[in-house]
């Protein structure tokens, strides 16, 4: 177990290193010149060169990358070119909002997805089953900015049940969480359905029924726990998928998380922020996967960590 953990951590660090090199190289290769972005349109060539030298952007790629990495090891993500403040500070100030949205999204996708899957499995082959599966398909494939705008229009603008974007209260959280969660809910509905169908065919369920337990009791007390466990382990992997959606959804709802931060940074070619948010998200994804793998054997003893 310890050896496994050690190996996985080494792997994770290597993955992060690889991501940092690739991202850094891609941003380095951009035809846009960050120095001119900083210096502005009124700057003289002398000003531009002076800024380039001070930021070390006149150095070769490897020197720049080496310095970035050295700073990174000290927890220093550099300073934003446009905002001129510490990237780490910008990310930390926005991280709580993103985490909150993630928790909200996970709760939404589990609640909606598992319920849909459960009902579909019980009513397998019926019209309910079919329509739920179609709904889950739509949920998986609908673009999130469309879902977001649609929810915003119906529930915030027309019905005024929720505020039109923003951050702060529980009511602000509902629509963005739902938007991010709907996609995951589609996946979970499908997984839950097949997992439940499997379990319902097993002998111990027939035994339980045979000894005279009520249908609902068998379903919720015997079948559900076994069907749900392999699915819950997937939540760790979800973090990666959610990260992608969050960039779009945060922008639509004006949610002050790191997705919105990086979206603005991309538009302004603010390279240190793009770099920082990419690394932080990569870290979250790597940790999520690691967590999912570590939890799995506890949930299902048949899985062995090697």
């Amino acid at each position: 177990m310890i050896a496994y953990l050690g190996r996985r951590i080494v792997q994770s660090v290597l993955i992060l290193l690889g991501i940092s090199i690739i991202t850094f190289a891609l941003l380095y290769l951009l035809p846009a010149d960050p120095v001119r972005q900083i210096a502005g349109r009124s700057a003289t060539p002398a000003t531009v060169e002076s800024i380039r030298r001070q930021l070390g952007l006149d150095q070769p790629f490897l020197v720049q990358y080496g310095r970035y990495l050295a700073n990174l090891l000290h927890g220093d993500l550099g300073r934003s070119y446009i905002q001129r403040s510490e990237v780490s500070q910008l990310i930390i100030s926005r991280l709580p909002a993103t985490l909150l949205l993630m928790v909200g999204a996970i709760v939404c996708e589990l609640l909606i997805g598992l319920t849909m899957g459960l009902v579909a499995a019980v009513r397998r082959g019926s019209r309910t089953d079919n329509s739920l599966m179609v709904a889950s398909f739509v949920g998986v494939s609908a673009p999130q900015f469309v879902v977001g705008l649609l929810l915003l229009y119906v529930f915030a603008v027309r019905l005024s049940w929720f505020p039109i974007g923003g951050y702060g209260t529980f009511r602000h959280l509902v629509l963005p969480s739902l938007t991010v969660g709907i996609m995951g809910a589609g996946w979970y509905a499908r997984m839950m359905r097949s997992s439940m169908v499997d379990v319902l065919h097993q002998d111990y369920i027939r035994t339980a029924r045979a000894k005279g337990l009520g249908r609902l009791k068998v379903l919720l007390g015997h079948a559900l726990p076994n069907a749900i466990l392999p699915i819950v382990a997937m939540v760790g992997i979800d973090i990666g998928i959610l990260m992608g959606g969050i960039v779009v959804v945060e922008s639509v709802f004006g949610w002050p998380g790191i997705g919105q931060l990086v979206w603005q940074a991309i538009q302004r070619v603010d390279i240190p922020i793009i770099m920082g948010v990419t690394l932080v998200s990569a870290l979250a994804i790597v940790l999520g996967n690691l967590l999912a793998d570590l939890i799995a054997p506890f949930i299902d003893p048949r899985i062995k960590l090697r």
């Binding site: 502005g40 009124s42 403040s85």
Partner: protein, 544 residues
């Protein structure tokens, strides 16, 4: 020494025997108190006047800080601000400012001439990495200070705590404007040193408002500076800037009465809808903008090295139709300067829309069958649509222009290469004046100085003769000869149009939408130097 210029304020004081000089007039109908909410999509980058250089933080910084000079609200008329009066030597190379007494920074300390000197030295100091460094190039000692070889500018002298003297290397007619731009706003040394690179997040100035709260990515709160030297201003107690709101969401919230001004304006997709609704339209203020949208033609790249081809392009573009493409949010342009800029050549007619004549010119240039070229454009709406309009017009005279729609930074990079981009539509990157003076549309974008790698003169047009004329015009410092100077600038731009390195297309109009409770003159909502609005002078009507 003959001192021929007394400031307007001092003159008024003499004439009317007024005891105190007021830089700006205070609206007598204005109500005091209340608060407003303004929304923005993007984070506020920085509030350090030495660094901030985008349209969003530009006017926010103006409310937190003051400079020696400012503009009368809603106009382009220069008036003294932190300066009480000024004198210019007859040769136009020495400017002496007398500072207002008793002006305090938000931290309570009194502002002195030392602070003015410190603030400008700081912008020129290369370690500050200020985008405004070059504006101070006419001050003595600039070269050494900008290269980091000298500690401050030798041309700035603190005569006494309330008097400061600037010596220039050449007469500079734009110097008073330079004293009004944000880069010369006055900052307190102790606060800059305390916060270091984070001063932009903890701004302390002498302005009408002080920063109350800044929650990154969410909101900024400006609070009224009760000790503001300009009695009676600002009118509002508080301004809340809510950040991260898409323009379309901001519009919906305005309609629900939750906010007062959507800072990013009316979203293009909703523009018609708003303008067709009489109730909403009544709350829209329209005004000119110191902006010109143009197509540059790179004179280094054949066939645009031929003036006839460039003139043909000017005649081929149907500007009225392009203005329609953007819902009439602009007026057609025929010269580089926008109409609200002093020096605009009112009588100049420009090139008419005449495809037949354009074809003739092409034939004369030896391109009777047309040619193929590239039109670079920034990839956000409405620019690709405008480029398509231009593409169609050019196709009508036989020019096949392939549209290269790229991210802003990439278009700017291509324009800054000697043979990078044959044609560029300037939308989204167009020149908006730093200050309302005709010279501001020349140097970097049409003069030889801008035609360098990484420069903004994307047509790479360089006419040494005009450069000389420009220098001559800018050496006319005497305000009495302002008209003569403006005329010289008009002539320069008309001359440029003969060579046609640009096809000017339109001047964007500004449309500010506000809530019904907002009060104050309309000009405050389309103030030429405060975008979107003049925060110091507006007020709300629903307070006591």
């Amino acid at each position: 020494m003959k001192k021929y210029l007394v400031s307007t304020v001092a003159a008024a004081a003499l004439l009317f025997g007024a005891a105190t000089a007021m830089a700006q007039d205070v609206d007598p109908n204005a109500k005091q108190g209340g608060e407003i909410v303004i929304t923005y999509k993007d984070d506020v980058a920085t509030l350090d006047p030495a660094i901030g250089y985008d349209w969003q933080n530009w006017s926010m910084i103006k409310s937190l800080f003051d400079g020696l000079m400012d503009y009368k609200p809603g106009t382009t008329e220069l008036v003294p601000d932190l300066a009480e009066s000024y004198e210019i030597s007859p040769d136009g190379t020495t400017f002496t400012f007398k500072l207002r007494k008793g002006v305090k920074f938000h931290n309570g300390r009194e502002m002195t001439a030392e602070d003015v000197k410190y603030s400008i030295d700081r912008v020129v100091n290369p370690t500050t990495q200020s985008p405004g460094q070059g504006f101070f190039a006419s001050i003595k000692g600039y070269e050494e200070a900008a290269a980091g070889k000298a500690d401050g500018l030798s041309g700035i002298t603190v005569v006494d705590p309330l008097t400061i003297k600037f010596e220039l290397t050449r007469p500079d007619a734009t110097f008073l404007h330079v004293m009004a731009i944000n880069f010369s706003h006055v900052v307190p040394k102790e606060e800059v040193e305390k916060w270091g690179a984070d001063f932009g997040k903890h701004p302390v100035g002498t302005g009408a408002f002080k920063l109350g709260e800044w929650t990154l990515g969410q909101r900024l709160v400006f609070e009224r500076n009760a000790d503001y030297w300009h009695k009676g201003l600002p009118h509002l107690d508080k301004i809340t800037f809510e950040i991260g709101q898409e323009p379309i969401v901001a519009l919906l919230r305005l309609q629900k009465g939750e906010i007062d001004v959507p800072g990013d304006g009316i979203p293009p997709a909703k523009f018609q809808e708003v303008m067709n609704d009489p109730e909403q339209k009544a709350r829209v203020v329209e005004g000119g903008q110191l902006h010109t949208g143009y197509v540059t033609m790179n004179v280094n790249i054949p066939p645009f090295d031929n003036v006839k081809v460039r003139q043909a392009v000017n005649m081929a573009i149907n500007k009225d139709r392009i203005v329609q493409l953007i819902n009439n949010r602009a007026v057609p342009a025929n010269q580089p300067l926008p109409p609200s800029m002093p020096g605009y050549a009112k009588d100049y007619k420009g090139y008419p829309y005449d495809p037949a004549k354009a074809k003739e010119l092409l034939a004369e240039a030896g391109h009777a069958d047309g040619f193929t070229t590239d039109l670079y454009v920034m990839n956000t709406d409405p620019n690709p649509r405008i480029a398509q309009g231009i593409q169609q017009d050019l196709a009508a005279i036989g020019i096949k222009a392939n549209i290269q729609a790229l991210a802003q930074a990439n278009v700017i990079a291509a324009g800054g290469e000697k043979e990078g981009a044959p044609m560029i539509w300037s939308g989204g990157m167009a020149w908006i004046a730093d200050f309302p003076d005709p010279s501001n549309f020349y140097g970097p974008i049409l003069g030889c100085g801008g035609a360098v790698p990484g420069g903004w003169n994307w047509s790479w047009y360089c006419n040494e003769d005009l450069d000389k004329k420009a220098a001559e015009a800018d050496s006319i410092v005497d305000p009495a000869k302002q008209e003569e100077r403006n005329k010289m600038w008009s002539d320069i731009y008309v001359k440029i149009m003969e060579d046609a390195p640009w096809a000017p297309v339109f001047n964007e109009q500004r449309f500010t939408l506000k809530s019904a409770r907002m009060g104050g003159d309309d000009s405050l909502y389309v103030d030429p130097v405060h975008i979107p609005i003049n925060y110091d002078n507006v007020y709300v009507k629903d307070v006591q």
